[in-house]
């Protein structure tokens, strides 16, 4: 939590203070939509402070187990802590923001 707060308060943030992983399984329409939606949200809300890693489970199937992935697409916020998981094609921006703790719940 403290990390998240810090990132909000200080202006001198590093580009990788937000590490987001998008798990997909091949270039499916849903994956492409998810990636596009993520890109849009990040540019709007996390300008210059994020890094997106796209993981294709078809290439690295063993990662599905290690990272406890069931649903595709899944967006995992590895940083800042704690880890958050958002599933779906990220078309619902409000829910994505809530999921990333960029907007209060409720």
């Amino acid at each position: 939590m403290s990390a998240a707060l810090k990132s909000k308060n200080s202006k001198a943030v590093r580009a990788d203070s937000w590490v987001l992983r998008l798990y997909v399984a091949g270039q499916t329409p849903k994956s492409l939509t998810a990636f596009a939606n993520l890109k849009k949200i990040c540019t709007e809300y996390l300008k210059g402070q994020y890094r997106i890693e796209v993981i294709d489970l078809l290439e690295n199937p063993q990662l599905a187990r290690g990272d406890q992935i069931l649903a595709i697409p899944t967006l995992v916020r590895n940083l800042p802590q704690p880890v958050r998981k958002i599933i779906g094609d990220l078309s619902n921006t409000e829910r994505v923001l809530v999921g990333l703790d960029l907007r209060p719940r409720g």
Binding site: R65, A71, I72, I87
Partner: protein, 594 residues
Amino acid sequence: MKNSFKKLEKRKLIGGRNNKDRPPRASLPKAPTGIQGLDEITFGGLPRGRPTLICGSPGCGKTLLAVEFLVRGATQYGEPGVFMAFEETEEELTNNVTSLGYDLKGLIARKKLVVDYVHIERSEIEEAGEYDLEGLFVRLGQAIDSIGAKRVALDTIESIFSGLPDPVIVRAELRRLFRWLKTKGVTAIITGERGEGTLTRQGLEEYVSDCVILLDHRVTGQISTRRLRVVKYRGSTHGSNEYPFLIDDEGGLSVLPVTSLGLEHKVSSERVSTGISRLDKMLGGGYFRGSSILVSGTAGTGKGSTAAHFADAACRRGERCLYLASEEGTEQILRNMRSIGIDLAPWVKKGLLRFDATRPTFHGLEMHLLRMHRLIDEFKPKAVIIDPITNYLALGDDLEVKAMLTLLIDFAKMNQITAIFTSLTQGGDYVEQSNIGIYSLMDTWILLRDLEINGERNRGIYVIKSRGMAHSNQICEFLLTDHGAELIDAYLGSEGVLTGSARAAQEGKEKANALERQQDIELKQRELERKRSALEAQIAALRARFAVEKEELEKKISEQESREEEFAENRAKMGRLRKAGSERNAKNRRKGTA
């Protein structure tokens, strides 16, 4: 509906139990579970390459069945497996089944098994748009491919419903998953929680329709019973009853196939000694080998002793004997039997006799039955004694108990085991309360009963029935001496059946009578002797008198003769004195007459 019924009928004719020798429908390959009894009920195992649904309430053994299916697949059938756990972590699962003797860690290390714990926590997941479960597919696919798995267990996949939002998507994805599993060619077990009025909470039975097995866990009278039922099995016949099963640390899960045994067992006409020679005679040579014998009687009539004699006799023949006691402990039985001169301890030492003493209430009925099965399988005895069977009657209703006994008897008969059941009866009537009609199942029924006469209780023994042998109809008195049980003919006479001291008194009376008769005869013989000697004495006296008289007479005769000679001499003398003339004359006279 009608058509499907007809189909079913047809199938039964082709692959039914009556054609055991023929493999049931080559078109439906099956994957043996290796679980004792389950393969018999399903005629070979679960449908190979298809998913099977195992449903039941919590704690009924679903997970265990799934684990055993995989473990046995990996160890016995060379089919590696993937266990996808949604409820327990790998660690928890491993620990939970260690007590049952499964070494999951070892199997994992040898690449025979993959345990994948799927962690889903609803509160950690935010849904933002459409998704699918491709991740699960990838994950499962990867696990399957990593060890070339042939078997898969998903336990309990329904957790996904609570872990993920949008049940519509989950439903559609599961449907896809089961199809996908089929294309993967793995034999899968999917477990599901029992729902209200449905087999599973989420209606999984709609998707997994090839084979559905229902597990149940009931508690009646403080004793729990687990039951298994094959609800459906597409394309195969299956036992449709509820089968009791149990989970224990000796063999994991075992299902009791109630109907797998029949009446087509071999029968032997060989006789085996009862251990009591007089009883052998009553039965015309002993029990039949492989027959079941009921020894019933009220308390203290010598049922245990009769059984112990048989055990002793079996061991003497060099046969193994299993003694299942449910009332006394081993030591107690040994001591008590020693007191009547049967020393069973050496047989125990030799390994010919094995005791198994368990309180009946310790387990449910089927647990007992399974334990007995297992003990018999393990020890391979030729004789089994269950002392007493009555204790098991309280464990279930009549039907259940009778079913269990039938199973046990059939099992014993199939293995040519002579089984003795002792039964404690309430007493009173002649044919003591025929509890649950177990008597009809028995081949030989020996009744021990108290005979109360003249303020005494004595033991009597009867052979009430004995199939296939001409047995004695006599009532014998059963005596327990310090050198074993003895059978004595009870006194049968005008005064009825007498036993105990009454018999002894009667016998004494008879002895006295006999003695009297004997004395009478001797007396008469003596009188005869006396008369004979008196007669002989008389004869002797007469002879003596005769002898005396004879002597006198002879004396008189000789006197007479000598007198006659004297007289003649005197005459001659006188003649000489009268000179020759007369002599001449005398000579002339003599000439003339000549």
